[in-house]
Amino acid sequence: MIAALIHWLDERLHLEGLLAPFKHKTVPQHKMSYWYFFGGITLFLFMVQVLTGILLLLYYHPGANEAFESVQYIVTQVQFGWLIRSIHSWSANLMIFTAFAHMFSVLFLKAYRKPRELTWVTGVLLLFLVMGFGFSGYLLPWNTLAFFATTVGTQMAGQVPFIGHAMMIFLRGGPEVTGATLTRFFGFHVAVLPGIVTVLIGVHLFFVQRQGMSVPPKVEAEWKKDPSLVKEMKFFPNFALRELMAWYVGMGMLGGLAAMFPWNLGVKVDPFASAPAGIKPEWYFLFMYQALKLIPSKVLIFDGEVLGIVGCGIAATVWLLLPFFDTEKPSRRSHVITGLSVFALVFMIGMTIYGYLAN
């Protein structure tokens, strides 16, 4: 029956030509092939976010006097509201984790080399936007933790030289974090960011489809020397079914986590209460937060925090443009970059652990 439907569409839209390349699509098979799943898992979790986000939109009220109560309503009154909300929160965290894992796997397997530079650039932009999703979404339940996390986060943005203050006012919708900030973050979270990210994902996937999967340098060299070693798997149906299975397992894990460790509601914002002791941002910002805390308040003539923010900015720019710093073939420079990548990973993990232990 599905074949009949496809035939009906093909008669009118000539899909055969468009879909033909997919029939021949292959995925390289080697020791590191499992890392190929991480991009797809991130996409899957994004789709889960869109779906659960739309469901939450049916009942959420974006306003300082109603937001907390509406989330409370969702988790107490709406049928399976607790589950949908928990899935949304858990999937957000898992998605950021898989996005980082995907980025690091591409980094260490050097998949960003020519001709895939633009894929890397769109990917890093997507990573930044996904963290923006996390930052904006975190405020929406309007509880004390989110309120102070947003205050600190936007204040850090305000430290950027020259444009920082204007950025902070723009993000906050005013000099302080208020209901105006909530409304603004809501707009970013459900309209602006989804629009931009959907387009970027489309572009990112288009590049991947056009260029196929990259193979790590060592394997590439081996296969070039001896073409009989080349092992490939058909995408349809072999890899596609495996990917579907990975998504299925991911879905099961998500449901299990959401059900067994439901997300907290917290306490409604009281702007005149003091910040809770030991407050810290969500884990995916913790490494930055902890690193900034370690910088002394004055370094030579510069303000320590400003130096830290500028440092973060430089690191982010280098990250974004990394393929243009590296070489196509293994070289001394590519080894240096690998070393820096290891340092970056260890630094991030180390700072995150330190951040948890220190508080």
């Binding site: 509406s70 409370q72 009154q77 709406v78 049928q79 399976f80 589950l83 579907l244």
Partner: protein, 145 residues
Amino acid sequence: MSTGTDCPCQQQPTRRGFVGLFLGGGMLATFASFLYPVMRFFVPPTVADLGGDEVVAAKVGDLKENSGKIFKFGSRPGLLILEASGTYHAMSATCTHLGCTVQYKGDTHQVWCPCHNGTYDLNGRNVSGPPPEAIGCIRRAPARR
């Protein structure tokens, strides 16, 4: 290998087809199990809005004795009455007849609906006119400083 059957259109089931059936059937069942909570989620709960369960109706001194005041209770109007004796009464201000907003009349010491001349006593009981049932009372918390 399969032996020929009489009907030329009947294919012998293959192992692949059998496994495929299980795979497809399992995926469909899983999908259905996700659809159930989502469908239930769509149906709005009986409590249409948690507009807030406690409201400040008025401050002490707002009301003159033997007068009433309409206050916002979630998305509906409430009526707060201060008797001459100093007792407060709070009730829904929506007439049970056809939904008009009622008011307190100091001369008759009754709650009156201007739409069809229905009246209620200070406990919300329907006294005269078309209202078919009593008006709902709202619990008052003791006055707080």
